[in-house]
């Protein structure tokens, strides 16, 4: 394909363009909501629940109100006076703006103090007291199925997802979704299998920890509201706030500049409803900036339990698989039910299994809510199915890579949903990982107290469907170009990638393109920046919009009888007699999708598949249990990279983040549901000294035929294989199998003593 003839000689797609916002970021001048100051602004400080589950008997705000400089103290009942049904959420309308009637986890927002001075607000919030009638609480996701402690008296599905409608009004349950998939006859095939293996795996609750903590501000007039928010989903925020207030969407404006990290923490609604209501009550701008500590009480990653059972024939082929997954959603559903279903249907892993049964349950518990975190549930699943795969292979005496090869889900074969695999380089990714690890060569196994081992793990993910992205591309009279999208650049480099796509179509330099940041008054609808969907969906929309603009430019050339290679500025000059005018193209992308039937079967489950594997070499100190990752290799199918360098940094960053979730990160709760380590002093995230000895990241040669210029999403892929690959390597080194994360030195040491 000839890509560039006019302004550029080199193709724009496939070029490692430095991020367009580079100067802003290295000089400390990038715009974040964190920096925002509005005239007359009030700061809000949240008073939070101290019990895990209880009826609110009374809230005493008198001492707080008496503090000099306090503007107002607001409770849930004040919110209810303004908004009769103040409950929000993407899947369930279950989360109150401030606690109403009950509190459901320690740290739940109960009241807010507003003051011009944030220190005054903080001091006053500490003086609020509340009385609760304590109720029995449940914390474990499996216990929640049968527990007498019921987190929500009545289930309130939002109505947007058809598979949740049957839960409306249901009482006496903590199950917020019971996703079910049946393909063939798993029980029958299991009964006939040569050998049957069953294992149970767990993952722990962890937190996204974006370094820009969650922050939102709102300002209003008598009839309009502007929300400045660190959000990954401005379009959703607008819809949900408009719904809560009963306003038309065009009276709610949502602006999002750069995000200081997101990773799924800043999705759907977090602080936006609260600051909106507070601004409407006070008629002043209101800002709430969470502290790092408060982030731990806001959104987390699902803890999970996964029971996996496989029937294997005499040739080492998996003939039946049963998967039962329990997702600990915490006190509010957030996007948990979608994680339960969208990830749930990939629970058997990238293997070709004829007879499959999956049950995936979203559970309410009395813990901080869980949502999407870089993988939308996939890392929890891969952790289990790849540990299981290694355990089965070793039991059968088959090399783990060979066992995977024998069972691999190949191009053209149906996955558990019945959807045929296409454009998923599963085999290439596995083979390249094995080759980078020199899997077939002898391996130094260490000596004395330092034992060495290696492991491999392979995961895949379906991109969330059904979702829409729109884009507009404006070509200015001088030939420069402005892209309007609601994709949020939270560090993944979307501004640069989208500019490259527009530039490629228009045959101009990427540097001639600017991307307007999300502003719902200006930029068109986009479902959200999540689940590695943006490069594919918004990227396709930008491509369509740029093609539309190009078509209009070419029509203009025809109308003006200009040759096809006329530079853009000359076209406008000829048309208007001066430098004036512009041409705008629009693009609307929505990939085809077929919703699953009652057995989870569909011929089109996803717009694209993501594939990622990790290979690791570890050293285990047999005296302390300490695990050192000496080599980490990540291989992925990313389609054809738009920006190879940014792709590499995404794979690398995701894998190091997952290294933290694997080796040490864990939210520690006591028996009252109190979080004991809500600070970076006690909850450690990876730093420079935690890096693997050697880190290799590779994208296999591949093409997503439906992607923009062959590309697909990559933000999460690097997380898939890391945890099970390390557990498999630890087993290889010292012969102990860990089935629960994190793989701390204590856990390894304890396992070695048994």
């Amino acid at each position: 394909m000839k890509r560039a003839t006019q302004a550029t000689e080199t193709p724009q797609v496939g070029r490692s363009v430095p991020r367009l916002e580079s100067w802003l970021k290295v000089t400390g001048r990038a715009e974040y909501v964190h920096n925002l100051r509005l005239p007359g602004m009030l700061y809000g400080k949240i008073f939070r629940s101290s019990v895990a589950h209880g009826r609110i008997k009374s809230i005493d705000t008198s001492a707080a109100r008496a503090v000099g400089g306090v503007h107002r103290v607001v409770t849930g009942e004040d919110v209810r006076a303004l908004v009769p049904e103040p409950y929000y959420g993407p899947a369930f309308h279950d989360q109150p703006v401030l606690a109403l009637d009950k509190v459901r986890y320690v740290g739940e927002p109960v009241a807010v103090v507003l003051a011009s001075d944030p220190h005054v607000a903080e001091e006053a919030a500490a003086l609020i007291t509340a009385q609760y009638e304590e109720l029995p609480a449940v914390y474990d996701e499996v216990e929640a199925v049968t527990s007498k402690a019921i987190v929500h008296d009545t289930l309130r599905p939002a109505g947007t997802f058809p598979d949740l409608k049957h839960l409306k009004g249901v009482k006496n349950t903590n199950v917020a979704l019971d996703f079910r998939l049946r393909r063939g006859d798993a029980a029958g095939a299991m009964a006939k299998a040569h050998r049957v293996f069953e294992h149970r795996f767990r993952t722990q609750q962890v937190m996204h920890t974006p370094l820009e903590p969650l922050v939102s501000a709102a300002e209003c007039t008598e009839s309009s509201l502007t929300i400045h928010t660190a959000s990954q989903s401005p379009s959703f925020v607008r819809i949900e706030i408009a719904r809560l207030l009963g306003w038309p969407e065009n009276r709610v404006r949502v602006r999002v500049p750069f995000l200081g990290g997101g990773f799924g923490a800043k999705l759907y609604i977090k602080l936006e409803a609260l600051v909106s209501v507070l601004s409407l009550m006070t008629r002043r701008p209101v800002k709430i900036s969470l502290s790092m500590e408060e982030q731990f009480f806001t959104i987390t990653k699902h803890a999970s339990t996964f029971r996996i059972k496989s029937g294997v024939d005499r040739d080492g082929r998996v003939v039946a698989r049963e998967c039962e997954v329990w997702w600990n959603g915490g006190a509010y559903a957030d996007i948990g039910p979608r994680v339960t279903q969208k990830s749930g249907f990939t629970a058997p892993g990238p293997y070709d299994v004829q007879d499959v049964a999956i049950d995936s349950y979203a559970l309410y518990t009395n813990l901080p809510p869980a949502g999407a975190l870089r993988g939308f549930g996939i890392p929890q699943l891969v952790w289990a199915y790849e540990g299981h795969t290694d355990m089965v292979a070793r039991e059968l005496g088959i090399d783990p890579v060979e066992f995977r090869r024998r069972n691999l889900l190949r191009e053209g074969r149906p996955q558990a949903t019945g959807t045929v695999i296409k454009d998923a380089a599963i085999e290439k990714v596995l083979e390249r990982t094995a080759s980078l690890l020199d899997w077939d060569k002898p391996f130094d196994r260490g000596a004395g107290t330092i034992r060495r081992g290696r492991g491999i793990a392979l995961g895949f993910k379906a991109c969330i469907a059904n979702t829409t992205s729109l884009a507009a591309v404006n070509v200015n009279a001088d030939g420069s170009c402005t892209v309007y999208i609601s994709t949020v650049d939270m560090g993944q480099g979307s501004d640069t990638a989208m500019a490259q796509i527009a530039a490629e179509v228009l045959q101009i330099a990427t540097e001639q393109v600017t991307v307007v940041h999300s502003d719902t008054d200006v930029t068109p609808f986009d479902m959200a920046t999540l689940g590695s969907r943006s490069l594919f969906h918004t990227g396709n929309a930008v491509k369509l919009a740029a093609q539309d603009a190009l078509k209009k430019l070419n029509e203009l050339k025809g109308e003006l009888k200009l040759p096809a290679d006329t530079p853009i500025p000359d076209v406008f000059r000829k048309k208007y007699g001066m430098r004036a005018g512009s041409v705008m193209g629009v693009g609307n992308f929505i990939p085809p999708y077929t919703p699953p039937d009652a057995n989870g079967q569909t011929d089109n489950a996803t717009p694209f598949w993501m594939v990622g594997a990790s290979g690791v070499e570890v050293e285990v100190d047999t005296e302390t249990g300490r695990v050192r990752v000496t080599r980490l290799v990540n291989v992925a199918d990313v389609g054809t990279p738009v920006n190879p360098r940014i792709v590499e940094t995404q794979l690398s960053g995701a894998s190091i983040m997952q290294l933290g979730f694997t080796l040490f990160e864990k939210m520690l709760f006591d028996e009252q549901g109190q979080l004991r380590n809500a600070s970076l002093a006690e909850y450690k995230i990876p730093g420079f000294l935690d890096l693997p000895g050697e880190l290799v990241n590779e994208a296999v040669v591949s093409e997503q035929s439906t992607g923009p210029f062959g590309a697909k999403g990559v933000g999460e892929t690097g997380t898939f294989g890391v945890s099970p690959a390390i557990a498999n390597a630890i087993h290889d080194a010292v012969g102990v199998r860990l089935t629960e994360l994190p793989l701390s030195a204590e856990a390894v040491f304890d396992a070695m003593q048994k």
Partner: protein
């Protein structure tokens, strides 16, 4: 009870009315509109709030502004947006993603290279171990620091002067 505190900020003599409890990050933000040093963990553990006071990196979220009387304070905004070798190297090596922690890393790297002109990988890892990056661009930062050292050597020291 606010008191005037006079200091040099990025080469300019300035004065601010400072309350006893106010931190350096707050004063930079509220009195001078400088947002490059940012509070994140609030405990001096992440390095996002790094500011140089009398040539030494401090955690601006813990450092009381009143202690800056007579001090020379330097932030990432120094240089008026002209890029030094460290910033150029961070761009060339893609050593940031969301950018929130980047100013802290830039300032710590400048201090590192002032102390050790040609740091080893281990020097870099240990020196920067108090700066956290949740996007985990550590491998790229390591490359950037080495490139910055090379650039500095080639051009001679091009540190920004504290007193212009």
């Amino acid at each position: 009870m606010r008191k005037p505190v006079a200091f040099t900020l990025n080469g300019e003599r300035v004065e601010a009315q400072v309350a006893p409890h106010e931190t350096l990050v707050e004063v930079l933000r509220e009195s001078f509109g400088l947002f490059g040093a940012r509070e994140s963990c609030g405990q001096g553990l992440c390095g996002c709030c790094t500011v140089l006071v009398n040539g030494t990196a401090v955690s601006g979220c813990l450092y009381l502004a009143s202690l800056c009387q007579g001090a020379e304070v330097r932030t990432v905004e120094e240089g008026g947006g002209e890029l030094d070798a460290v910033q150029q190297a961070f761009i060339e090596r893609s050593a940031f993603q969301c950018g929130f922690c980047t100013p802290g890393f830039v300032l710590m790297t400048r201090q590192l290279l002032d102390e050790i002109a040609d740091p080893s990988d281990d020097d870099i890892r240990h020196y920067l171990s108090g700066n956290l990056c949740r996007c985990a661009t550590y491998p790229e930062i390591l490359e950037a620091v080495k490139l910055a050292a090379k650039k500095r050597k080639e051009k001679g020291s091009e540190q920004f002067s504290g007193n212009k």
